[in-house]
Each structure stands twice: as C-alpha cells, then as structure tokens.
Symmetry: C2
Subunit: 504 residues, 2 copies
C-alpha cells in the first residue's frame, strides 16, 4: 500500500470503531426507553456515561488530530475518494468544535445539563419556573462562553444553528420565518373567524390498542418500511433510532382513547426511518451514514405525516382498513368527517399537540426567545412573561401556568439552544420537496389515492436519502428543487389545502 | 487520601469501567437474541467484536498489571478490605491466564471458533461430521497449546475445568461421576424394566401461548423474581442474562403444542435469575457481582426446576392455576397424571430434552470424551464412533445420525472444553443444598405445598446468592452443607423420588 492508502485505511478503521461505540450507546438508550427495568436505570446511565466518555475521547484524541491534519494536506486531500473527503470534513468540523472547549468546561456543562433536566421535571410538575431559573441562567452563561470559544459569523446565535442545521443563519431564518409568520397568522385568524369547527370526539372513543398496533404495522408496510431492518415498539414519547444501517427502529404510542396519536406518530417516525433505511450502504462505518441534518430529517417525517398522511387521497385508500379494524367505533364517521377531524386547526398552548398550521408559530416564539437570550437582549428571569406575550400575539392564546407555557419543553434544560428552528425548517423543506416531487411525478397524489407509495419512496431515496451526510442541507435543497431555502411553497400549500377545508 | 487508598480507588474505578463494557456487550447480545432485526446482525456482530476487544485490552493492560502487583504486595494486601482483596484475586487470575496466551494466538482462536460455529450449523443440518472434523482438530490442537501455556496440575484437563469450576479436578470428577453413573444406570434400567409408562400426549395438545405467558409470569412472581429489576421475553433457546445488578432478564419458549416447555424453562431461568438478583449490592461495579461458577449457577436453576418445580407439593398448589388457564385442555388430566407426566423418565438421544435422571449420563459421556481428547488418548476422527458406543453403554440407545449424536451441541465448535461437567455438578450441588435446606427448614416441602416460597428463597439468598464471587464453589459447598462435594445426596434423592413413582 502507498503511504496515503495506509493513512486512509487507518482513518476508516478509526471511524468504524467510533461507529461501534455509537451503536452500543444507541442501543442502550433505545432499551432504556422501550422496557428496561426501572431499578436498573441508574447503573445503566453510568454505563452509558462511560461509553459516551470513551467516544468523546476518541473524537478529540491527538491521534485523530494527526490523521485529520495529514489527510487534509493540500498534497493529499484532492486525491482522496469522495467519501473519505466528506468524512474528513465532517469529522474535522466536530473535532475542532470539541477541541475549542476546555475539557473541564465540557464536563461541567454535561453535569449541569444532566442535573437541570431533572430539575426541569420537578419545576414542570410544580409549574414553578423559579426552580429552574438559576440552572437556565447558568446554562445560558456557559453557552455564551462556548460561543466565544467557537467564534461566530454575523450573529452569536449562528454558531448554535450551525450545529443542527449547517449553513443556516439568523439572517436566513429571520427572512423565512418573517414571511411564514405573517401568512400563517392571517390564515389562522381566517380559520378561527370562519366559525367552522369539526367534531373530533368520535376519534376519542375507545380504540383497542392491539388493533391500533395492527394498523400501525400496516401503515409502515405500505410506506415501504423494512421490518427485517427495524422493529416497532411502544413508548410514552415516540421516536426513531438508527442503531445501525440495517437496524432502524421506530416507536409509537397507542392511546386507548385517541386513535389519531398512534397513526400520526407512526407515520412521522416511519418517515424518519425511511430516511435512515435509504442511506447508501457505501457510507456504512462512517459518520456520513446518517441523515444530513435535523431539519432535513424532520422534512422527511413531516412530509409523510402531513403532506401524505393527512391528505384526502391517503385516506381514500386507507380508511377502509381502519374501518375494517374498528367497524363499530367508526360506524358513524364518514371519510369526509375523518379527514376533516385529522386536519382540525386551532390555536393551542402545547407545541407537540399543535396542528400542522399553528405548529410553526410555536417554533418561532422559541427561536426569537433563544436568539434574544444569546444576544444578551433578554434575561432568563423575563422568559415567562415574554413567552405569554408572544403566545398572545402569534396564537391569540395565553397559558395560565408555566407548565403549559415556558416549562413545556425539555430542550433548554438540556442546553439544546439552536435546535428548535430545525422543526419548522423541516416543514419548509418538506413543502419544497413536495413541489419538486410534483414536477417530477405529476400524478403522485393520484398514486397515493391508489395506495401506491413505492414511486414516492423511491424518489425520496434517490434524491435525498441515499446521500446521507455526503451533501449538506443547502446542497440537497438546491440539487433537488433548483431553488434555495424559502417558505413560498409551504405558504402556498397551506392556502391550497386549508382554504377549501374551511370554506375561505 | 493515603497512597493505598488512592491505589484502591484507582483500581475500583478501573473495574467499574470494565463492568460498563460488560453491560453494553451483554445488552447487545440479549438484543440479538430477543428481536434485533435480521439484517442488522452482521454490523452488530462487528460492534460487539470491537467492544469485546477493548474489554480484553482492559483486562490485559500493563496498567492493570501494575495495579494488581502493587495491591498484591505483602505490605499492602492484608490491609485491604475484603471485597478489594477478592477482586484483586479474581482479576489477577484472569489477567494471568490471558497474559499467558500470545495475543495473536488468542485472536486466531477467536476467529477459528467463530468460523467453526458456523460450520457446525451446516454440519449438523447435513448430519455430516466430516465437515466439522478439521475445525475440531484445529480447536483441540490449539486448546492443547493453551494448556501448555497455562500449565496444569495432575491432569491436562484440570486447567480447563478450573475456568468453569474453580478447584474442580479430574480426580474429583472421576470419583463423583463414577458413583453417580453406577447408581443412575441401575435406576434407569429398573425404571425401564418396570414397564410403567405414563401418557404424556395430553400435555402436547394446543396450549394458547398468550395464556402460557400468563402462567410463566405467575410462576416467576411466586418464586420471588423481581420484575422491576428484570423482564421476561421469548426466544428459541431460553436463557438468563444479568445485564446489571438490577437488570436480570430471563427468556422462555412458548411451544403451542407442549405446555411443559415454557413452565420448566421459566422456572429454570428464574432460578438463575434469583441468584443474580440476590447478590449483595456491595459487590456492584466489581467482577464479584456474578454467580461464583457455572456449576453453582446451574445448581440454582436445577434446584428450582427439578427439586421444587417437579415436586408433587409444588403442583398441589400450582396446578389449580394451570387448570384455570386451560380448563378444556386439561379437563381429563388429574394432578396425579400431570405430576407423573412431568417426571417421565426415558433414555433418549438429545441432552437438552433429557429427563432429570438420565441427564447426567449425557454429561458424563461428554466429560469422558473431552478428557480423552485433551489427554491425547482419543482422535477427533474417532469421536462419532465412541459417542455411539458410550450412548449404548450408559443409556441403551444409539443415534442413527451424527446430528442426533456427536453434532447435537454447539460447545465444542465454540472451543468450550471443560464446560459440560458443570451441568452435572449443578445437579450434584443442588441435591447437597436440598439436604442442608431440609436440615435448616425441616418443613420446607410443606411450605411449597402451601405455595410459600419466600423462606426458601430467603435461605438461598442468605447462604449462597449474596456472596457472589466472594466465595469459591468449594467454600460455598463447605459453608452451607458442612461437607465437601459428593454425589450421595443426589443418588439418595433420585431413589427417594423415583422408586415410589415407578413402583420399585
């Protein structure tokens, strides 16, 4: 072997070893959430801590630094294969980020946020923001300290956004969210003013969980989810976990008194899973073998959940099977009624229960608060009040308690500033992908009406999934749609779908 | 801290880290066997290989060697606490064993046995010993090479026995098995000659697996298995896995057409699990937090499965619940009939399907063959023929194919010579424990008849379980029974139980 070939082989072996730690840690988390016995959790958490620590050491070791430097050299890099090049870039980015933070400060942050998440649970249960406040203040201060270590472009918040959505900036988000907010607020007001309401109570009758499970499995099969490379379990909070390239698991939640929960959680997590199951096997054993960003990942789950799963065409095909499983429960619920009920739009307090239209407004509130905190324009102590104000302004509703307000999400106590925007970006991207799909497969919704989802899945596999992290979010968007990120398609889709539904 | 206190803390931290790797690897194996998707197995196996490799490095590192040396020093060791002393001894034993084998030979053995196990599956399916023969020859040769590295006492096989059952030797086993064989062969011949046979077909009707699962859970609850520190799943081959001190899982197997399988697998694995759930929490994060040997472990599973679970008294209490679950299926099966059917004795070909009495004869055959192979008195090529001879001699039956004969077990292809005897030792130990229990709690079988198993479990916890690996098998036996290992109690128990059952 040449010297370069040897170096590449050594680097790839090192990456593979890191992936093996990832696999172990992912499985340990999955197990904790799907049925590990209660009493074993404490020891398990310590074991996860040890392996995560070893992985962090691998990700920041001088040995890795030397490999990266050698492979990045101008005399070497251009001759590398495309996958190794992308892996060098990706690993280097993480390596440099991690190395800029002193090890003791990193550990202090891990300890602080672990503690804060426990305090958050108590604070939420007691609906008492003051319990969490000192922790959040410390977390914001440390985040600010890290921003100084990392450096940043135009806005201090940009460096946080870049962790979740590489290339996305405050400038871009202000533009996209500005347009989207204006239009969404107007649409929501029109919907509320229309006075049209649908009775959703028939979907809150008793629905046997075992039969709900059957239906969830059927939906995943129809979407093309590969059960030989994954499995479906039940958890309090549904999630998808890619344990390895051929082991991509999903969970859902069977509420006995709400048939919607399992259906849309399953389709949502199934969308995430199709992404991971669609990545090119060439990327196995590298950190490129994952979805490229939080936002693009969310675009896949939202595409399936909302654009396909809440469409009239989808239920024209699938409702018969739901009726077959629940003939008595749904005897008086027409297809039309069902379709309207799963597209009910109403301003509400809780993000994760929000409908497709109002959801993004919840995100924008969090985005604006995070941005202001990081810029030093807002104090942690003022969060609850500003939260209420923004809720009133954007959604016209106001929480009576902090549990239903500023304390509802775990993210901030985990130190995850910069994460929320990717949820809304997922919807923005999904609408752009939908337009591109309509251009390439003009009759795709007719295919959905016939229960044919293969061509849609194949299109997503080919255009988006297979690339893994080989392409950045911006590159994917540009390559698939021919445009840059913009909210035009999402706004148009909302009007196209909801104006007729609400007779506007 | 004093210098010694620092050294102890460093050592204990190191051991804890090793336990965390064990936990990850155990969970990865458990998951593979309980429902990991088929297509992910190959990548998973590689990930396990990486972590197992790291653990082996930890177990053989010069750093560990230095710690062991320092703590073993005459000026230090006597002042250590009892747990650290035992941990030093235990880790040192493994360390020295592992260090005596050159690393490249160890790797070669791992690769060879991994390959041989795959070949064994093919050979068994084709019932063709010649496929496996070259691999077994290589495994025996390498085992012999390792024995030379390790050194040995009186017999070359002693060093293998010592891995599974510390302190047990060929001299001891020849003595125990000699007595046991003579008596067992005579008993089995008498049983066969009695002409008494029980109709077991009623237990092979259709038994709904979901209700079998209910009964298995009920049995585990009655035994005192803690479901908050474990869980029950279904697998093709039942097993118990101690993932951590508070996460001890069992699996069982629900055969739709044999109600016995799940019942006795559940009780058997439950017996293993009670052992692990009963270890003193003081031993957490050390390698002492496990059952002390394969034989003592097996004594706990066999004690529950056979001595308690197949007793008349046990079913006097529990049969009503089985009838409640299967009223139609068991309508014509009396308690007496059921009890006889689950104690049916008949020489047969397959070890894992053998009854309580004939089981040990299967083990003795394997023991004698292993001993002869290791001593160089038997060639691998001659195994199938000698196997048939011994089966005829001990059990009076002879396999028509190698699949039902010498190829039936995976152990040899895995390189696990020295393992089999611990299965029979488990029965020997269990009978000794039963006599000690009868001495301490004379009415224990009356308690079983009333469904009261708490005092028995508490006795096992106190006398055996809590010690973990703090005591060696020989020490446990001596301390609990006041005797050394001997087959007298097992022989007496067989006669006491089976002579009346077969009218002898």
């Amino acid at each position: 072997m040449t010297d370069v070939a040897e170096r590449v082989a050594e680097f790839r072996t090192y990456l593979k070893r890191m992936q093996h730690y990832h696999e172990a840690i992912s499985l340990m988390h999955w197990d904790l959430r799907t049925g590990a016995p209660r009493k074993g959790v404490e020891l398990r958490s310590e074991a996860i801590g040890t392996l995560a620590g070893e992985l962090f050491e691998l990700a920041t070791s001088p040995q890795l630094g030397e490999m990266l430097e050698a492979l990045s050299d101008d005399s070497v890099f251009p001759a590398l294969d495309r996958i190794t090049q992308a892996a060098v870039r990706e690993v280097r980015r993480e390596y440099e980020r991690n190395r800029k933070i002193p090890a003791d400060r990193h550990r202090a942050f891990v300890v602080l946020t672990a503690k804060a998440q426990t305090v958050w649970e108590e604070a939420k249960a007691a609906s008492d923001f003051s319990l969490l406040r000192p922790y959040l203040e410390e977390i914001v201060a440390m985040t600010s300290e890290f921003i100084d270590c990392w450096g940043y472009g135009e806005h201090r918040y940009d460096t946080l956004l870049d962790m979740y959505e590489p290339g996305v900036t405050v400038r871009l988000l202000d533009d996209i969210f500005g347009r989207l907010r204006e239009d969404t607020v107007a649409l929501v007001q029109a919907i509320v003013a229309s006075g049209r309401r649908v009775d959703t109570t028939p979907l809150q009758r008793y629905f046997d969980p075992a039969r709900q499970r059957q239906f969830s499995r059927l939906l995943l099969e129809r979407m093309g989810y590969d059960f030989e490379a994954g499995r479906l379990d039940e958890t309090a909070h549904p999630f998808e976990s890619a344990i390895n390239r051929y082991d991509v698991r999903v969970t859902t939640k069977f509420l006995p008194h709400d048939v919607r929960s399992a259906i849309f959680s399953t389709i949502h997590e199934g969308g995430h899973a199709l992404y991971e199951q669609g990545i090119s096997p060439d990327l196995i054993d590298t950190p490129l073998c994952n979805g490229t960003s939080y936002g693009i990942h969310e675009s896949q789950s939202r595409f399936w959940e909302n654009f396909i799963g809440r469409s009239r065409e989808f239920w024209e095909f699938n409702y018969a099977d739901l009726l077959r499983l629940f003939p008595a429960e749904l005897a008086d619920v027409s297809l039309d009624h069902f379709h309207r009920a799963v597209n009910h739009v109403e301003p509400s307090l809780i993000r994760i229960e929000a409908d497709e239209v109002t959801y993004n407004l919840h995100i924008m509130i969090r985005y604006e608060l995070e941005k202001a905190l990081v810029a030093g324009d807002l104090k942690v102590a003022d969060l609850p009040g500003v939260w209420r104000e923004k809720m009133r302004e954007y959604l016209g509703v106001e929480p009576a308690t902090d549990a239903e307000g500023v304390l509802q999400d775990v993210h901030w106590s985990g130190g995850d500033f910069g994460y929320f925007p990717s949820y809304a970006l997922g919807n923005v991207y999904a609408a752009q992908f939908r337009s591109a799909l309509a251009r390439d497969i003009p009759d795709f919704m007719e295919q959905v009406r016939r229960g044919e989802l293969q061509a849609i899945k194949a299109w997503l596999n080919d255009r988006i999934h297979r690339h893994g992290k080989l392409l950045k979010p911006k590159e994917i968007i540009r390559q698939v749609t021919g445009e840059d990120v913009n909210a035009v398609h999402l706004v148009a889709y909302f009007r196209e779908k909801f104006e007729p539904l609400y007779g506007l």
